[in-house]
């Protein structure tokens, strides 16, 4: 066990810090679309400096660094308050799935533009009637000349309106529960695809709905075997969390510093009840960070992300929600006024226990797949 950085990791980090000091991205614009442009430009800057696809193999255009260096990179980005690259879904999910499950042709076609940000990816898994339950998906793909014709609807897709490619899970059969799905890479720039923004409780529109009306996917864009989409999709979801929780924890710690400042600004620094709630959050966030690094070590040593990622997901949602609650209590009567930072945080955090697998589903995963408890279904 060694929690210090290795000489190689240290060198990577110091070089990155130096580069970041010289190449700070400007502040993120408030407007959503301008923010995406800003994040695209930032991804291009990262790409040009060799910081896109940190842990992707060199042969696929990545930096070939370790997963640990990827995590260090993520933490440094948070520390520098740099935005996530615009094509985060391509980098974190799309690319890794193409690398591990795709064909050579798919790798040749898709990987490079993911890294540069030239082609943004989005994820088409959730549907209005199939949130946690992928077996209830109804978007269908029917075999046709040279490919598949897709009809149906997806929801909660970020970047869909700017995306070139959609990772699509669609029904290709009626037989068994998990054997009737196939994983496609669908071209978003075609007439059969319509994207509508989805406005959230916060008032923002981070997400979209996608409607497919006889959209077409050629055969060569099927990932894995026809009917094996559930397994390919699960791989995608597991890549989603690996290596991100330490950086997420750091982001929360920075926010907690702001919240401590708010408590002091409002003259409430002697309120032991508020201060203990804040301290408990600082501690919970630190354990989330440590769980993240422990999980990452396990991934590095055993190859694939495991279901333990569910622990970090539950912690992340719970902590963010408690931060929002504490902020409201600190604001007290001033909680009436919409605060640009804290009201938004309080509201946005409510989705954290729903998006990317609800906290209930995460507990199911821990119970069934880590603790081997019997399933109800």
């Amino acid at each position: 066990m060694d929690l210090s950085l290795t000489p190689a990791e240290l060198e990577f980090r110091d070089e990155l810090r130096e580069w970041l000091a010289a190449n700070r991205p400007g502040p993120e614009p408030g407007d959503t679309e301008a923010a995406i442009d800003h994040r695209l430009a930032w991804q291009r800057t990262l790409f040009d400096a060799g910081y896109s696809g940190i842990a992707w193999p060199r042969e696929h255009g990545g930096r070939g660094a370790t997963q640990m260096e990827q995590a260090i990179f993520n933490e440094e980005m948070v520390r520098a308050r740099a935005p996530a690259p615009a094509n985060i879904i391509g980098l974190v999910m799309g690319g890794p799935v193409v690398i591990t499950r795709g064909s050579d042709e798919q790798r040749a076609r898709f990987l490079a533009p993911i890294l540069s940000g030239e082609e943004i990816w989005c994820q088409g898994f959730s549907e209005p009637n199939a949130g946690s339950d992928l077996a209830a998906l109804t978007t269908s793909a029917v075999q046709a000349e040279g490919g598949w014709v897709v009809n149906g609807q997806k929801v909660w897709t970020s970047f869909a309106h700017r995306a070139r490619w959609c990772m699509l899970l669609a029904k290709t059969g009626d037989d068994q529960r998990h054997r009737n799905l196939t994983f496609f890479i669908l071209d978003m720039k075609q007439p059969g695809v319509e994207v509508r923004p989805l406005r959230q409780a916060t008032g923002d529109s981070e997400f979209n709905e996608i409607f497919f009306d006889n959209a077409f996917v050629p055969d060569e864009n099927v990932v894995g075997a026809v009917g094996d989409g559930w397994n390919v999709g699960i791989t995608t979801l597991m890549f989603e969390r690996a290596g991100l929780s330490a950086a997420s924890a750091l982001a929360i710690q920075l926010k907690l510093d702001d919240l401590a400042a708010l408590i002091r600004d409002r003259g409430l620094q002697d309120d032991r009840s508020l201060s203990r709630r804040l301290a408990a959050l600082v501690i919970a966030t630190e354990t989330m960070r440590l769980n993240g690094y422990r999980g990452l070590t396990r991934i590095i040593e055993h190859g694939v992300p495991g279901p333990e990622g569910s622990i970090a997901k539950i912690q992340w949602a719970d902590i963010n929600q408690r931060v929002g609650e504490l902020a409201m209590d600190v604001l007290g009567g001033a909680a009436l006024l919409a605060d640009p930072v804290w009201t938004r945080w309080m509201l946005r955090a409510r989705a954290n226990s729903i998006e990317g697998g609800t906290s209930e589903i995460q507990r199911n995963i821990l119970a069934e797949r880590v603790l081997n408890l019997p399933r109800m279904r």
Binding site: S126, P128, N129, A130, G131, S132, D133, A135, A136, V155, W156, L198, R199, Q200, A201, G203, D270, S273, Q321, E325, M328, D329, L331, G332, G333, A334, A335, L336, L337, A338, T343, M346, L347, R350, A351, S353, I354, E355, T358, S359, E360, R363, M376, R377
Partner: protein
């Protein structure tokens, strides 16, 4: 002892419920919050039916009913996501009646009772400005803060729209431009009645959130079953019921106490506000969770209820301030306890 509504009280509740159902909807609430004029029509209906004066003494043109009846109206309005005009007017009437002097009562109460010269409630900020709810068109405001209550005629202040957390009531910042008139009577008791009415609104908000969650739990299917069959959902709903019923008991008891046992009101009001504010927060957030993604969309009412729970929960005395007061009565919590009505 009989801890249940009597027939007259049921009639009050059913009357306001049927008015709200015919004249108001979450869509109206959204339009009102966004600046449209729906609420004026609702207010005219309320005035026409005599609701504004329900708890104002008959001597000033009201019906002179009790705080229990007032809270029944407030709960129903909270459930309907009705705007803050009724509550604000009733609150200001209670403050002037309870803590004003004869001149103040004579001048303002008849207008509040008839609804023709509406009152609005606001908080007085440490910097001397105010924040008021649905105050546009009001004849007078009462701003409460720092243990004082200032009566301000509409002509003596300027209102500027402000961005509130709550999207179903309009928030204004208030700048004083003329004289104010302090309410120098027993402000504490009057404020506690207002807190009880506000708590009743929160019970209504929580009840609506529970109703929506139950609909969702029965109809939404996942893994081949309605989600309400899973204990992760059904037990959450049971806890919501516990919160709603506890807050309702606390509010009804505090309302009765306000009229029949005022010496016990401080404790009863704290029990009501803490139960209702914390309960409404827990229930509205739990309802959103039961709904999943759809509950987080702008179009769904979940966030309207949650926002209202946050805003009303922190209006006047915060739950923390009430906890401190209850603790102080037991010699606990130190000297620097937060004042109850900020």
């Amino acid at each position: 002892m009989r801890f249940d509504l009597d027939d007259d009280q049921r009639a009050v509740r059913d009357g306001i419920d049927s008015l709200c159902r015919s004249a108001w909807s979450p869509a109206s609430a959204r339009r009102h919050g966004a600046g449209d004029d729906d609420a004026a029509a609702l207010w005219r209906e309320l005035v026409a039916a005599g609701w504004p004066g329900i708890a104002v003494a008959q001597a000033y043109g009201g019906q002179g009913l009790g705080t229990v009846e007032l809270t029944l109206v407030c709960e129903t309005m909270g459930r309907a996501l009705a705007p803050g005009m009724f509550f604000g007017n009733a609150a200001v009437a209670a403050l002037v009646e309870g803590a004003g002097d004869d001149d103040q009562r004579q001048r303002w109460l008849p207008g509040f009772a008839s609804g023709e010269a509406r009152g609005a409630l606001g908080s007085l900020q440490p910097d001397g400005t105010g924040l008021a709810l649905d105050a546009e068109g009001a004849a007078a405001l009462v701003l409460v803060g720092g243990g004082r209550a200032m009566l301000v005629a509409a002509g003596d202040c300027q209102l500027e729209p402000a961005a509130g957390v709550d999207l179903t009531r309009r928030l204004s910042s208030v700048t004083l431009t003329g004289g104010t008139d302090e309410l120098r009577g027993d402000l504490g008791t009057a404020l506690e009645r207002v807190e009880v009415a506000l708590s009743a609104e929160l019970v209504g908000v929580a009840q609506r959130a529970l109703d929506l969650a139950l609909d969702q739990a029965r109809s939404r299917q996942q893994f081949g079953r309605p989600i309400g069959a899973y204990q992760a959902v059904s037990h959450r709903c049971a806890d919501m019921l516990l919160d709603v019923e506890s807050a309702r008991s606390a509010v009804l008891a505090a309302a009765w106490t306000a009229d029949h046992s005022p010496q016990a009101l401080p404790f009863a009001a704290s029990v009501a506000k803490v139960s209702a504010a914390q309960g409404a927060w827990r229930v509205t957030t739990a309802s959103l969770q039961v709904h999943g993604g759809i509950g987080f969309t702008w179009e769904h009412d979940c966030h309207l209820l949650l926002r209202r729970a946050v805003a009303s929960g922190h209006l006047l005395g915060s739950p923390e301030a009430h906890l401190d007061r209850v603790a102080a009565a037991r010699g606990l919590g130190g000297a620097a306890a937060v004042p109850t009505a900020q």
